[in-house]
């Protein structure tokens, strides 16, 4: 019991320390000071009165929400830190094995191209980059070499898919339709959903700056004109001077050093976002966000609840010496093909790079990281795959059987949509409505449910012999509602 108490006070001290620098803290202080003038605050019961006042005003609720995301998930006090990252041993092993392959690929790219992992830029190059900061997309593609071998390249295609009913043969707890109905009551057919923007009046949650209420509101979709503010509120992504300063520091880091992973980012942006009808205009913003993201060590905090482990690199000449290891890249996240699509839809909402950055970083450390690391989390990609297969098997078994029989495993089709949370596959307005629910329900589960329709849609189209259309005309939310509640 004593140990628990000690642990608790350490945790509290950590939270207080972390909150001290945050805007929320100064807000809390200000409110507390101001409320002292109020008649209901009595000197004798100062502490209780102030506490109840803050509770009633909703600020405490915001602090709770904020803390919820900053704290590691509750676990057994005696559990080792690996358990917080991922409780199941076999999952940890799978993730570690996957990471090994990625690193091998990255290292061979490094040696084959003869490019260092990091390099300090000469002054002339720094100046040039500073001038071109707002139009990095004009860089000639030939200047940036990158060739990352597919980490799966030596994997035999030996999965005897036909002998299994589905590709994911793991028993994880995933929700079926009746359970989803309970979890997502706001999606029921009787609740109105926002699809077409028709509101001119500001939703009260915005004017009250209530983060928890905004999250609840988002479950039924956000009006186009207020989505940017609502998301920022839900994510507690502020644009205070300290945030802007942090972003400027990251920008300075980009100017000073060139990283090998930057080549991966350039290649990704050119191949994905720049070729997308909706997002090509935002090319420059993507570099401004992703290059800074790679250098942001604050992102390392999320590895305490991420099954992945940031790759380590040794300072030249000191291989093996623990004291000379650095995390590479500084934020511990190696970008991959399609990574920039996590950022692209946000460009639709936010203009100022520092604001865009805050929102993206928060979305990544809360949700997106789960889509490319192997874990048992219900929002993790493994669970989503399993849930998708189960939903299809249980509710559209003939379709599932047919697809498997013709060698078109449904998961192989749907996987790429889920990894990207549908970015680049759905039209922007539908995508944003889907992401409204990810934020509203604080879970990626909806991505699994939403994947069922496109499979059906594509299959029906191919039967009708039409050109296999892309998903850009699909209205996912209404279909999901019917699937769950009709």
């Amino acid at each position: 019991m004593m140990e628990e108490g000690a642990d608790l006070s350490v945790t509290i001290a950590q939270i207080v320390h972390r909150l001290k620098g945050a805007h929320l803290h100064s807000q809390l202080e200000k409110q507390a000071r101001e409320c002292l003038h109020r008649p209901e605050i009595k000197l004798e019961s100062l502490k209780e009165d102030v506490r109840s006042f803050l509770k009633a005003s909703g600020t405490l609720a915001c602090v709770c929400v904020c803390m919820y995301y900053r704290l590691p998930p509750p676990g057994h006090p005696a559990a080792p830190p690996e358990h917080t990252k991922e409780p199941l041993v076999y999952m940890r092993k799978a993730q570690a094995s996957w990471e090994k392959r990625i690193l091998k690929s990255l290292n061979s790219m490094c040696t084959e191209l003869g490019v260092p992992l990091a390099r300090k830029r000469p002054v002339s190059e720094q100046k040039e980059l500073t001038n071109k900061w707002n139009e990095m997309g004009t860089d000639e593609p030939g200047n940036r070499r990158s060739y990352l071998k597919n980490p799966n390249y030596d994997c035999r295609e030996g999965l005897t898919a036909n002998s299994h009913w589905g590709l994911i043969q793991i028993s994880l707890n995933v929700r079926d339709i009746p359970q989803m109905r309970e979890a997502y009551p706001e999606l029921s057919l009787t609740c109105s959903q926002l699809g077409i923007d028709d509101h001119a009046h500001i939703p009260p949650v915005v004017s009250e700056q209530d983060s928890a209420a905004a999250q609840q509101y988002s479950r039924q979709g956000c009006p186009t004109g207020f989505r940017a503010q609502l998301w920022a509120l839900i994510l507690n992504a502020t644009n205070e001077p300290e945030d802007i300063m942090h972003y400027e520091q990251l920008k300075a880091a980009v100017i000073h050093h060139d990283l090998l992973v930057d080549n991966l980012i350039y290649k990704d942006v050119k191949l994905t976002a720049s070729n997308d009808d909706y997002y090509f205009v935002f090319e420059d913003f993507l570099y401004q966000v992703l290059l800074c993201f790679s250098r942001d060590t604050a992102v390392l905090e999320h590895f305490s609840y991420n099954s992945a482990t940031p790759p380590k690199s040794y300072i030249q000449g000191k291989t093996g010496a623990e004291e000379f290891t650095v995390v590479y890249p500084p934020n511990g996240v190696i970008p991959f093909h399609g990574f920039s699509m996590y950022v692209s839809p946000l460009c639709f909402l936010y203009n100022e790079p520092s604001r865009l950055y805050s929102v993206f970083r928060e979305m990544y450390v809360r949700y997106f990281f789960r889509l490319h690391s192997i874990s048992s989390s219900p929002s993790g990609i493994v669970s989503l795959c399993l849930q998708f297969e189960r939903l299809l098997q249980n509710h559209l078994p003939q379709l599932f059987y047919h697809l498997q029989a013709i060698g078109a495993q449904p998961l192989r089709i749907a996987f790429k949509w889920m990894v990207r949370a549908f970015s680049g596959y759905l039209s922007t307005d539908q995508l944003l409505l889907l992401w409204d629910r990810i934020l509203g329900y604080d879970s990626l589960e909806i991505v699994a449910g939403g994947s069922v329709f496109p499979v059906l849609h594509k299959q029906l189209l191919s039967v009708c012999n039409a050109v296999l259309a892309d998903l850009s005309t699909l209205k996912v939310m209404p279909l999901l509602q019917v699937f769950l509640f009709a």
Binding site: N134, I196, A200, N275, D277, Y278, D429, A466, V467
Partner: protein, 443 residues
């Protein structure tokens, strides 16, 4: 090349025809003979329309989708029966040639100033300061000198697709051009030589609205079925055309930066046809709403409506109104940083060639609905306010969404019946609106 997706005639699911009691017995044709000089989406639309038969070469036709050249040569000598329709007005160039458009707008504005007041005239303040050359050369120089350092754009009046256009900041930049044009201020000289091509010199909009650092303009479609009285429809779809390169005033010579016509963009060195330099109007409207809020965007679209209406009113009395004629205009609009729309030009023959599958489908819908409005088949009552993706914008007066006027309640606030950039659920609407094609049953 793009394959048309299965765009069949609208399938009906109703089992009984709704009564259409207020239609006078309009002569609907079960078979329409058409002529078409284009080989792009319009031909596909015509070919797939039930009951429409193509006429080659000489032969009687009921419907002609002609080009303006044919019109110029043949219109005056053609006799057309009452039901016949043709897709241009005889003197459309009053609106679609840059110099004439400006002339008509200036005249219209003066009329408004005089007859109604300056406030009303100010509503025509949507085109940049423009002068016709060579005739208004002196006026141009006066204005040019009054605003030193500003950028001007020179455009030939009758060419399209961005040809012959250039920017300049100094008068000496156009000296060369003057020589080439065999420019003469002496009227006597001009008479004997070949006619000098007419140009307009216009103040360049130096602060365009940028998205991702890029300039773009809007292409909007307006269908006019009559000038006297004026009846005009606005299509919900349209698109924004982006420049492939980031906007900057430092390079005036780089025409790729400043001109957003797809034809010019296609020749730019880093043009990637797969990239798609276009956004659908709905995408743009949503983007602007997300950035500026719905109120600001509604004001913007109201201002855009104003451009269409006033430009059409300015030529209403000049255009030879002929009941056989209708015309589909492609309006080019530019937004500036203050979200003010500017009229760049009006096209009588907007491009119907598609740049992508999505573009093809949009143009297909547009043309199909154009034919629905023209209504050779006699399926409409004439009282409709919406046909497919078209909303009736002006019918000898403004058209409002609600039929009941609120004037009785002491207020005159009404919402215009336009929905540019809004959801285009045309199939559903057409199903409810139209009788099946003559000779076809509801499926």
């Amino acid at each position: 090349t793009f394959f048309p997706s299965q765009q069949n005639s609208i399938g009906y699911t109703l089992t009984s025809l709704p009564p259409n009691s207020d239609s006078p017995d309009r002569e609907g044709r079960s078979s329409v003979r058409y002529k078409c000089s284009m080989i792009n989406s319009i031909l596909d639309v015509l070919r797939q329309r039930p009951g429409w038969v193509e006429i080659k070469e000489d032969g009687e036709w009921d419907f002609n989708w002609c080009d303006v050249g044919w019109l110029r040569e043949n219109f005056d000598h053609s006799y057309m029966e009452e039901h016949v329709r043709i897709c241009h007005f005889r003197n459309h160039y009053e609106l679609t040639r840059k110099n004439l458009m400006v002339k008509n707008l200036k005249r219209y504005r003066k009329t408004l100033d005089r007859e109604v007041g300056r406030l009303e005239g100010a509503k025509c303040d949507f085109f940049p300061c423009t002068f016709e050359l060579p005739s208004e050369y002196h006026l141009f120089v006066e204005e040019f000198k009054r605003s030193p350092g500003s950028i001007w754009i020179m455009k030939p009046v009758a060419r399209s697709q961005g040809k012959g256009i250039f920017l300049f900041r100094k008068l000496k930049d156009i000296m060369e051009w003057k020589k080439v044009q065999r420019f003469s201020l002496n009227f006597e000289d001009q008479r004997d030589e070949a006619p000098v091509e007419s140009y307009v010199a216009q103040r360049y909009i130096e602060n365009p609205y940028l998205i991702g650092g890029r300039k773009f303009d809007l292409r909007v479609y307006v269908l006019v079925t009559s000038y006297l009285p004026l009846k005009a429809w606005l299509y919900r779809d349209g698109f924004a055309r982006f420049s492939n390169t980031r906007f900057s005033l430092s390079s005036i010579d780089d025409q790729y930066v400043h001109l957003t016509n797809v034809a010019v963009q296609k020749t730019a060195p880093d043009y990637d046809p797969e990239k798609g330099c276009k956004w659908q109007m709905q995408q743009l409207r949503r983007y602007l709403t997300a950035k500026h809020g719905s109120e600001a965007v509604e004001t913007l679209f109201k201002d855009i409506d104003n451009i269409f209406i006033r430009s059409l009113l300015s030529v209403q009395k000049v255009i030879i109104n002929d009941k056989h004629c209708f015309e589909l205009y492609g309006y080019d609009i530019l937004l500036d940083q203050h979200l003010k729309p500017w009229l760049i030009e009006v096209n009588a023959s907007p491009s119907l060639t598609a740049s992508s599958q999505e573009d093809y489908e949009m143009k297909y819908r547009l043309l199909e609905d154009t034919l629905n409005v023209v209504d050779m088949e006699g399926r409409l009552t004439g009282k409709e306010k919406r046909v497919g993706g078209y909303d009736l914008m002006w019918n000898d007066g403004p058209v409002y969404r609600e039929d009941v006027s609120l004037e009785t309640l002491g207020t005159t606030y009404q919402i215009a019946n336009t929905n540019l950039g809004c959801v285009n659920d045309r199939r559903k609407q057409l199903r409810q609106l139209l009788k099946p094609f003559p000779g076809h049953k509801r499926s």
